[in-house]
Subunit: 392 residues, 2 copies
C-alpha cells in the first residue's frame, strides 16, 4: 500500500484510468473472441488439436479438409467440432492496440516513446497474422522482426550505455570492455555504440520467437505471457515507483496493464480444453510487447531474468533450430489415447524434458506444472535481481 | 532544378537514400506480389472480376466455390483462371512499412513524428487485412479508423491553430469564429481546442474510406493513389523546400516516395486486365498514408484540394451511404458482354455519373478517363492553392 499512497493525485487518476480501461478491455476481448470464432472458421483459420486426436483420425480429418469445401466442413457437426478457430491473437492484438491508443489519447501525456513501441508491436502483430493466413518462410519472419524493431533502435537513447558491475571495475575486464566497445566511455559507464543496435535487434528477435517455440499444449502460450507480464508489473512496482523513476513506471503500466487484461481473456478461452488457438499472431505480438517494454524502459537485462523457461527451451531447441537434428513442423509430445496422457517425444523442447522427468501427464496437469515452473522462475528472477543490485 | 541545387550536401545524400531505397522497394514489391499470388489463393483470398463475368457465369462460379474444396478449385484450370488473388495490398503495405522504417533507421534523423504516423498507418493496414480475411462490419471499421488516428491527435501540436484568411479578418466572421472556437486566440491565429481532435478524426475517417468507395474498375484504386501521391510530392517540392520548411519536406518525402514506389508496382499488376486485386488492405492503407502525411505536416486543408474526385464521389454516394437509397455490396457499373463495354448502373457513384455523360465505355478507357480526370483535378488543386495564398 505504501507504494500507492505515495502516488500523487494526478498519478492516482492515471492509475484509475489505466486499470478501468484495461478491465473493460478484458471483458470486451472475451466477448469479441467468442463472437469472432465463427468468422475465423469461415475465413479458413482453424487447426486440429493434435493432443486430442489419434494419428488415424488426423489423417482422416486432413483428407476431408483437402477434398471438401469449407462450407461443407462447417455444415458437418462431427467435423466442425474438431476444427478449433485459430489466430485468436489477432483479436487480442487489435483490442490491445486500441486500448493503449485510447488510454494514451485520454491521458494526453507526453508519452512519445509509446508511438515507437506501438509501431513495433503493431508491425509484429501484422507479421504474425499474415503468417497465420498466408504462411511465411521462417527467414522472412526473422527479417520482419528485425525491421519491426527499427523504431525502438531509433528512439531509445538511454540504453546506449553499459554500467560495469562493481567486481569488474578497474581490472582487466574493464580494459577489455573499453577496447571492444566503441564508446564514448565515461568512468564505469561504457558507450555501446553500434553494439546497442545489435543487442536491441537480438532481444527483439529472441523475444518474438521465444514464446512461439515454447508452445504446444492448451493454455501455455497465453498463460506464460500473463505470468511474464505479472512479473514485469511486480518489478516495476518494486523498483520504479520512486519519483525519479515514475515516468518509467507509467510507460510500463501503459503497455503491460492492457496486455495482461487482454491476455487473461484469451487464456480463459485457450486453457484446456481449448475453444480457440492463439496463432502466431499472438505469440509474435506478445513477444514484441515484452521486448519493447523492456527496451524502451531500459530493463532488457532484467527481462531476461523473467524469461528463464523460455531461455532454457531455446537452448534445448538449438540443435533442431539450427538443423543439426531433423525439425518437424510440430515438436509437441505424443498423445497416449488409451490413458489420455501426454508422453515425451524425441523433440528437444522443455515440454519433453519435463515429461521425461515426470513421466506421462494429462495435458491439463502438464500446462499447470509448466505455469507453476514459470511463476517459480519469475520469483527466482526477482530474487536474483535483489542480489545483482549489490554489484552496482 | 533550382530546388534541388539549393539543397545542401547532407540533404542530397538523404534524397539519394530515399529515392534509391524506394526504387529498390518498387522492384521488390513487384516481385513479391507476383510470388505471393499463389499464397493468396491458397489462403482463400480471391475475387471474381465482375466486369468480365456475365451474371449467369457468376452464379455458376459462386456455386462451385461454395461446394468444392479450395484444393479442387485450384486444381481446375478453368476455375482457377477466374479466381483473381485479392488483398495484394497487404504485401504492398508490408513492403512500404519496411521501407520507411529502414530509411528512417539508416538516415538516423530525429523524425519522431514518423513513429506516430507509422503507428496509424500500420494499424489501418492491419484493419484492412483483417477485413479482407474475416469481414468486419462497417461500424467496427469506422471505430478502428477513429482509434488508428489517436497517435496523430496526440503528436500533432502545430495544427491546433486556424489562421483566418485576410477577407474574414476583423469582421463579423472573426467574432463568430472567436466565439465558437475555445482558443487560446492570438490575433488572427485562432486556437481550435477540442475541434482539432474532431477535425483530425474526420479527416482520417474520410481519407481511409474515400479511396475504398471510389473503386470498381481495374487499376483505379492504385492509379488514383499514385496520382494523389504525385500531387503531394509536387506540392512539397514547390512550397516546402525553403530552409525554414525543409523538415516538413523530408517528413513528406519519407512517407510519400516509398508509397509511390510500392503503389506503382501494384498498379502495374492491377491495371486492365487485373492480375491481382488490391483489397481493402490497400484502400484503407493508402487513405491513411495521405491522412497522416497531411495531418503530421499541417497541410490537411491543402490535401482536400487534391482529393476533388474522391470528394465528388463521396457527395454522390451520400444517399446510399446513409441508407436513404438501397446500397448493394458492389456499386459497380453493369457489364455489356456483347460489346465488352461498361454501362452505367443505378448506383450513385462518380463512375456511373461519368458513364452517363460519355455513354458505354470499355473498362480500360473508363479507367484511363478517370485517371486523367484525377490528374486534371490535381493540377486544378495546385492552381487553386496559388490563388488561395493571396488571402493569407
Amino acid at each position: 500500500m505504501e507504494y500507492i499512497t505515495c502516488l500523487c493525485r494526478e498519478d492516482r487518476k492515471l492509475l484509475l484510468l489505466i486499470t478501468s480501461l484495461s478491465a473493460f478491455a478484458h471483458l470486451l476481448t472475451h466477448r469479441l473472441i467468442k463472437a469472432s470464432a465463427e468468422n475465423l472458421l469461415k475465413g479458413g483459420l482453424f487447426g486440429i488439436d493434435l493432443n486430442k486426436t489419434t494419428a488415424k483420425d488426423y489423417v482422416a480429418i486432413k483428407k476431408q479438409i483437402r477434398t471438401k469445401s469449407l462450407q461443407t466442413l462447417l455444415d458437418t457437426p462431427s467435423l466442425k467440432s474438431r476444427m478449433i478457430p485459430e489466430s485468436a491473437g489477432i483479436i487480442v492484438g487489435c483490442a490491445y492496440i486500441s486500448t493503449v491508443l485510447v488510454i494514451s489519447w485520454m491521458a494526453n501525456l507526453p508519452l512519445l516513446a509509446t508511438h515507437a513501441s506501438m509501431c513495433s508491436i503493431t508491425t509484429m502483430l501484422l507479421v504474425g497474422f499474415v503468417d497465420d493466413v498466408l504462411g511465411l518462410r521462417w527467414a522472412l519472419k526473422i527479417v520482419f522482426s528485425v525491421i519491426a524493431c527499427a523504431p525502438l533502435v531509433n528512439s531509445d537513447a538511454s540504453g546506449r550505455f553499459l554500467v560495469l558491475p562493481v567486481p569488474f571495475r578497474g581490472g582487466i575486464i574493464q580494459t577489455i570492455c573499453e577496447t571492444i566497445l566503441p564508446g564514448p566511455h565515461a568512468g564505469f559507464s561504457l558507450g555501446l555504440g553500434y553494439w546497442h543496435t545489435v543487442i536491441v535487434t537480438l532481444i527483439c528477435v529472441f523475444c518474438t520467437n521465444a514464446i512461439n517455440i515454447y508452445a504446444g499444449v492448451n493454455g501455455l502460450e497465453a498463460g506464460q505471457s500473463v505470468l511474464i507480464s505479472l512479473n514485469v508489473i511486480v518489478y516495476s512496482f518494486l523498483h520504479l515507483t520512486s519519483s525519479s523513476e515514475i515516468h518509467r513506471f507509467w510507460n510500463i503500466a501503459l503497455l503491460q496493464f492492457p496486455f495482461i487484461a487482454v491476455s487473461t481473456a484469451l487464456f480463459r478461452l485457450n486453457m484446456y480444453p481449448a475453444k480457440v488457438f492463439v496463432g502466431d499472431s499472438f505469440t509474435y505480438f506478445a513477444g514484441m510487447v515484452f521486448a519493447v517494454t523492456a527496451i524502451s524502459n531500459t530493463f532488457s537485462k532484467t527481462l531476461m531474468l523473467f524469461l528463464i523457461p523460455q531461455i532454457l527451451n531455446f537452448l534445448f531447441s538449438l540443435p533442431q533450430l539450427f538443423g543439426f537434428m531433423h525439425c518437424p513442423l510440430h515438436r509437441i509430445p505424443r498423445w497416449d489415447c488409451h490413458n489420455d496422457r501426454l508422453v515425451h517425444s524425441n523433440n528437444l523442447t522443455l515440454l519433453n524434458a519435463v515429461l521425461r522427468c515426470t513421466g506421462p501427464l494429462h495435458e491439463k496437469s502438464l500446462t499447470t506444472l509448466l505455469l507453476v515452473l514459470q511463476a517459480a522462475c519469475g520469483a527466482l528472477g526477482l530474487l536474483l535481481l535483489e542480489l545483482v543490485r549489490f554489484f552496482y
